[in-house]
Amino acid sequence: MPPPAEKIPEIAGVDPRALPDSVLNSTRPLVLRGLAEHWPVVRAGRQGARATVDYLLKYYQQATVGAFLAGPEVRGRFFYNEDLTGFNFRPVKIKLDTVLDEILRFENDPKPPALYVGSTTIDAALPGFRAENDFDFGARDPLASIWIGNRTRIAAHHDLPDNLACVAVGRRRFTLFPPEQLPNLYIGPLDFTPAGQAISLVDFHAPDLTKFPRFEQALRHAFVAELGPGDAIFIPSLWWHHIESLEPLNVLVNYWWRSSPAYMDTPMNTLFLAMMTVRDLPPEQRAAMKQMFDHYVFEPAAENFAHIPPGARRMISGFDADRARELRAFLLQRLNR
């Protein structure tokens, strides 16, 4: 058996009306107990599933949402099918109140179907909800989303934005890994994914260590936390996270923001393009490109460019929104061939 995973450090006494930079700029995961315990949705959640649904429906205006549906046999684990040619769930567009009714209908069923409304923009689905259930992010302008479901498991994956996730109702278990655990997590296809992000192929409830032996290494570097109503977790950008929802009804509110300017596209685009244009070059050419990436991207030391008059360094000296626009136009034209 692997060693018990490390607990995520917890900090208390954070003021939800003024989230400090020490939390929001952290590069390590943090648990903030009770950060949202004053939220009305958290209070409603403590009254039970029916009260939770009634509370959410106060803000319901016939919104259609994306939902994942799967039979009881998947035991809440949204994943691929056997040979990774499809998925074990059905993505549907559905009225939010219908999903909520279904969740209630199976509340006491020991083997319910898996019902999950993931990553749904709160202001679109439940307008007004944030007026009384929200944090103050100051100058940051995060995307606020709500996640509603019964007992489900979302495979380990990562996201580019920093993430503050808050359990509003129910309980969730978070298992986190630092970015460098990539090779030990056995990440699946990049361009055919259940919900946009590539996922670990390891079943965390029954890891097949013959098939995925290095997963044991990953577990040595895992951080875990179980969150209850009102508890929040900060997940740094690109940290892998596996999330289990543990109750018959679970609601999560999360905030995503990027610490870099909006004109910076996702570097995943760069990775994909590099796979197409760099990876399969002859070895000498690839080595030359590796050096160029180091020189210009990964280790752009000032002395590399001291020979260029500062006013002539252009892209090398850095980007602003206008320079990014210029490059975007250039790349769009070059890519469209």
């Binding site: 994306g66 567009k93 890519l335 469209n336 061939r337």
Partner: protein
Amino acid sequence: MTQHALLNNVHHKDLRIVTQRAARYGDDIMASPTFPAEFRNVQAHYPIVFHRTDQGEFVPLALFGFREKQNLFLGEAGWDAPYVPLMVERVPFLIGRGPNSEQVIHVDLDSPRVSHTEGERVFLEHGGNSQFLDRMSSMLATIHQGLAATNPFVAALVENELLESFALDIQFRDGGQHRMTGFHTIREEKLANLGPEALGKLHQKGYLQAIFMVIASLAHFRDLIERASKLDATAR
């Protein structure tokens, strides 16, 4: 037959579209749907009339001929007018709905315009969008918006009782005759007697301009008759 497929740069990498105008490419049409946003261009060349569908809805049409399959603008050298209505130009592309109900481009693979050897390339050599595709794509967006704005326009015409059916008795130069029926046009008398409030409402929505463009377009019946007169009496 039509076979609509979601356009994509893998399955349709060699797709070309013939843009020549000829009967064998399906241009032998008597009329084409149009929409108020296009009236300014259409009324410069074609009569605009209204067709009542079996469901009782009125559809504005650009008229090219007097009977089924007759397009008096179609000749050996192609389409003899500087403006071809967008609903004709868009063929074989159409707007469809993607999995997230977003707008996507579909192509009718059974259209005679579809080719792999001649015509405009849809995709560039490595899968980029050709200028032709970019033009088609913005054309489809214009049509989509234009058609959506047609229903309220027609509803306002109906509400003000501004549509009436008409019959056109045509006298060709050589004495031949033809009677065209089945279309509706603007009831000019009723329009002239509309009160300031009703006119103001129509004007506010831009409908008044469109109404007068429809009226002005009827002058092109003279051109249509002229074109038909040049045909053999049997071809009319």
